[in-house]
Amino acid sequence: MTARKLNLKDKYRLLTRDLEWEYSYRDYEEIFKQESFEGIKITDWSKWEDPFRLTMDAYWKYQAEKEKKLYAIFDAFAQNNGQQNVADARYVNAIKLFLTGVSPLEYQAYNGFAHVGRQFGGVGARVACQMQSLDELRHVQTQIHAMSHYNKHFDGFQDFSHMHDRVWYLSVPKSFFDDARSAGPFEFMVAIGFSFEYVLTNLLFVPFMSGAAYNGDMATVTFGFSAQSDEARHMTLGLEIIKFMLEQHEDNVPIVQRWINKWLWRGYRVLTLVAMMMDYMLPNKVMSWQESFEVYFEEAASALFKDLARYGIKMPDYAATAIAEKEHLSHQAWSIFYNYGHAAAFHTWLPTEEEMDWLSEKYPNTFDKYYRPRYEQWRRMEEAGERYYNPTLPMLCQTCQIPMGFTDMDDPTLVSYRQSEYDGDRYNFCSDGCKDIFDFEPEKYVQSWLPVHQIYQGHCGGAEMEDVLGGYYRINLGTDNLDYKGSPDEARWNDWHGLETAEEKLKKAS
């Protein structure tokens, strides 16, 4: 009698590797057109080690369990008016940044993994990519659901996906993923699977999720827990693809090294947003950006690159710049957003006295020397009724698209300028990393959709800033943007908690 139930090993084999068939009437190159143009040499796909060890039916069952718990908590959060119990309404701006800047990247990851899940000749790699693709779709959906409750009570959430495609600072994460998805399948895997999911993911998700926990945001924390086991799977896929390429052919080593250099730098630049979120946007601080960078990048990456040394892979040169910048990054980033707070879909503000003291303590070499005087000047301007906003649009880096607010680590009071000339035109960059990326593939990056230049070319709704910000970006002016002080968000929060604004107190006293 044959067994009615397959044992696990057979079932796994039948539902993964056995899905493959022999190609009898089409050439392999015709079926997997994108496998070779990047120069990566694969001699034997059967050496691929499946990272997940999961079949589809087990996957659905497991994810369904998690969803059930997750949505029960979202419901409870809504019923208990969880929005009133966060540490302070300023916190919600970190979530606005997450929904507009990060959640759409989950959707891009879903698209990207679905695409490469068709391109590889090895069935093991294809199945793994398809499964990660589904995870990423689940992530974007659950994040939208987790945050939709805030949309009922705070401004700036309503048009997150429209904004992701248009707003100037969101072109930073968007163009990062566009770059990865328009690369070949192996580069995409190094960009997202390895650099982002394996090396940098802890620097992104741990700060946001522990930030949520410290600031009373149970909906977001619960999403974080629900994604954790997915992320663990993604890390194993990221590491497998790297090791697989390196073991397949020695000619792959320099190509993989260049991709690692490029994508760790690209990813690190995107994490600038996380740095400022940690140091400036969380009312209850978890740890400083510098501390988290030391734990999750310096320590973790040095262990990883020690492990990869046997393949001839080295720590990227740009890591030294990132390490030098750790005492400056968050302050320079928040300065950018404070300068252009009129053009952002979330609120900005000056750190309070206590917050400045915390920053002095966490950044003893830099905060008092370079940044405190700047905030004190802005405080004087605010007190004089002239809250500072930069009246002119900023210069952007051609590669990372961030305003050129990063400074030279030899003289932190000087902007770091880099320039290339290509085919008769000048291109400008914030760093060696961004310049080298352009110089290697200029025909890709001459196409950068730089928001400031697009405005000046007349492609963003009109010549007046109201046309761009209100019409084209769909920021509700006077509501979503400007300082937290005086915002409708602040007024509602004070109303819920019976608080008075400083202005109201002043009025009553006089």
């Binding site: 994108q34 143009f37 990047e38 690369a183 070949g184 580069e187 320079q332 300065s335 950018i336 404070y338 300068n339 252009y340 020397k369 370079y370 940044y371 405190r372 005087p373 700047r374 004190e376 000047q377 802005w378 301007m381 500072y388 930069n390 009246p391 002119t392 649009l393 900023p394 210069m395 952007l396 305003p403 050129m404 607010g405 400074t407 932190p412 009071t413 000087l414 902007v415 300028y417 320039q419 085919d423 035109d425 000048r426 291109y427 400008n428 593939e441 200029p442 025909e443 890709k444 001459v446 196409q447 950068s448 959709w449 730089l450 400031v452 230049h453 697009q454 000046y456 070319q457 007349g458």
Partner: protein, 120 residues
């Protein structure tokens, strides 16, 4: 290899070609050691605009919110064009003196080093 692409001789569209700015060129202005302005600024300007107008009109529009702006001695300013030392001619047009599309004009104001000497 100017790009890794599936097709041969792939050529990207120059999104910021001079011709796309309706007769203007892009000029970047940066005031060294004054990072209260978080980054250099970008402005669309006519290529034949005399440099005197940069000082007379563009600079005040971009930088006058800084408390040190009024104290600048323009005769003592140190200029850089695309990283090289440079002496502007106030009467000549920008393009005529080598300030072409997407050029960076940096200026330092010796003695004025930002809020409390902090470089801000």
């Amino acid at each position: 290899m100017p790009v890794a692409a599936i097709v041969d001789n792939y050529r990207g569209e120059r999104l910021d070609a001079l011709a796309n700015f309706h007769g203007n060129q892009i000029l970047y202005l940066g005031w060294d050691h004054h990072l209260m302005f978080c980054s250099p600024v970008a402005l669309p300007v006519p290529p034949d605009m005399p440099f005197g107008k940069v000082i007379g009109e563009l600079m005040p529009g971009a930088f006058s919110l800084h408390p040190e702006f009024g104290q600048i001695d323009w005769s003592g300013v140190v200029w850089h064009l695309n990283g090289e030392p440079f002496t502007p001619d106030m009467d000549k047009g920008l393009a005529e003196q080598g300030i072409d599309h997407k050029s960076i004009v940096r200026f330092a104001t010796p003695g004025l080093d930002g809020i409390g000497g902090s470089g801000s």
